[in-house]
Symmetry: C2
Subunit: 407 residues, 2 copies
Amino acid sequence: MLSRQLSRRGVLLPLLLCASASRALSVSDISSSSSIKPFSIDTLTTPAVIIDKDTIEANVKRMLARSSSYNCILRPHVKTHKTIPGALLQTSNRRSTITVSTLREAEFFLEAGFTDILYAVPIDPSKIIRAAKMARHVHVTVDNIQQVAALINHGAPAPGERWSVVVMVDSGYGRDGVVPSDVEALELARAIDAAECMELFMLYTHAGHSYDVPYGDVEAIVKISEQERDAVVEFKKILKENNVDVENVKTGVGSTPTCSHPPQHLSGVDEMHPGNYFTYDYNQHLIGSCDVEDIACKVLTRVVGHYPKTNKLQIDCGWTGTSAQGKEHNYGCIEGHSELIIENLKQEAGTVTTGDGSAIDFERFPVGTILKILPWHSCASIHQHRKLHVVDGNDMVVDSWDCADGW
Amino acid sequence: MLSRQLSRRGVLLPLLLCASASRALSVSDISSSSSIKPFSIDTLTTPAVIIDKDTIEANVKRMLARSSSYNCILRPHVKTHKTIPGALLQTSNRRSTITVSTLREAEFFLEAGFTDILYAVPIDPSKIIRAAKMARHVHVTVDNIQQVAALINHGAPAPGERWSVVVMVDSGYGRDGVVPSDVEALELARAIDAAECMELFMLYTHAGHSYDVPYGDVEAIVKISEQERDAVVEFKKILKENNVDVENVKTGVGSTPTCSHPPQHLSGVDEMHPGNYFTYDYNQHLIGSCDVEDIACKVLTRVVGHYPKTNKLQIDCGWTGTSAQGKEHNYGCIEGHSELIIENLKQEAGTVTTGDGSAIDFERFPVGTILKILPWHSCASIHQHRKLHVVDGNDMVVDSWDCADGW
């Protein structure tokens, strides 16, 4: 069947290394030979993003084991970090089976030898020529007949090749995707099935609404993870009943909340594609996806000013350093100083005070003191930087990873 | 006096080209010889930032004229755009007298030949060695005796040179700066005055609270612009009365709201340092700093999906493309389509619906349609990009400018 798929699709499939068959890697396994001589975080220019080596290793290992226990391939979303070593860790070095959110990410990982890349945002006509150059290794996503028509209008990505097409399915998020029971959903799949230049690769859903449940309501998240499963399984069943060839069509589900609290079974589901779990963040902690100790991503900042009269510290991290997201939740929290909150962030500076109005012990925080922010949304904080610094348990930087940038 | 200042300061002073003496430049005046062959915005990868040539020229000209009419040097803050051509326009090609918010910006503009650069965030010890290398051309900011002590501890930036020190003054913002009437303010100035390795260059204030007035309350903004003026003028008077040598010490005020609505006079003020006025944005429009037509910065995005059942369009711009700021105000507005609002932005996608619940005319917005977002906060939107595309009145890109990046 593999060879048939290869010849039909023109897409290099993953080597089907089951996650359970491969041991979870450590950072040292994937560090390049040119990796750096360890140095203290004290020498980093702030703001900077550090990620804890031990914590990402544990996060990666846990999700690989979970997907394996559900007999699913883990196709991690790499948009949280956009780094090659991060994606190698997440895929146990298979260099395949990842999800991306931009064509630039697709190019970045393809250049590094990754294959079987799912570009998970609906494609529009302006991106087709660029996507065609990568079509042997990159699946494109549609949820509307206009996108399919644009692909057909372009024709085969190259002579003898076909577009590998993913249909986005709405499992209750209401942002994008087709609703399985809608006639438009069936018509879309039929149009793909009928087109010479494409074939249906996957039915894909992402339950973004799993982020909107009341904090700590794990039961609600489990219900949404059931919705994800049921949406793609049900859609595949409808297609089969309507004579669409779905024998080799995969199904994929995932968001970090739902993959952290999956349902009892994922029968009929082939793949899981969470992303944020790589580092987690303070929002995921409040949602209930992780313990606070699982947050691997921290934004380093330094105290630059003391304001005893207003009971404030100033830090050299603004929204350029950690994004403005989570303002209503004080942008996350400051590790090891639960008494402190970030009151406000401007472009290159922030103000810190106490949550309960008690006086700051200024002597504990002389100008120059490093603080570590556990950010509200790690995807957003990391996106503000071009490099991630990997640190060991002694706050020594053991590697620095480049992030893909742009679109 | 100029030669005395030069010899005392070791800082290359601006050539004291009064803004009124130099004509406002146009984009074509400062475009490099390698500037590009014009091309349509239709060929840009989205999301992308465009800036309207005619609008920035008008914005720049208006602020140069205003500062001149107040007998002030315009020392524009360049953090909104972080581009060399933008700063050349703002300074009428003098390549001096600018304000920056990071050391990376200082280096970027210094490498391009700019001098007399004011680094307007209080310095901490970790940044002193890097700042010392630029001290002939870069003024550093303090508002606390610990920062001064750290500079003294380092000593002169180079043999025969002195630190040119700016004291940040709090004119009511409450984020940073010294309060003129506080004894600590006088002590800080005395410590600078007494130190061999430094001298006092400027008393600087930024009324960040001008952004917090009720929308359209111009009177409140004018009052805050009076506070800015009075704070630095009063502080200089206090210092003089206390025998601090302030003969050559400058005073500077500015934020885009206060510089858009200055007081009746700025007597005793030497410089204005607004920044955002270069492009303005939708927030500045609501504040009352500009008309909507003065907003020069737009984020291009394309329609990628249609969702008639939920009355939504999907666009290929998320918070990576325009930042998550202004969510409560729909992130700004969509030019030419007042019926549409941006409902939500995720990482690489956004949903658009109508503000009044009326049905979207989907036929007007086929997949691939370009929309222009007038962003909530242009500094934040531009910061998400590495390049600004300058467009003429026919939506042709006539130049592309690189932005400084990092810290």
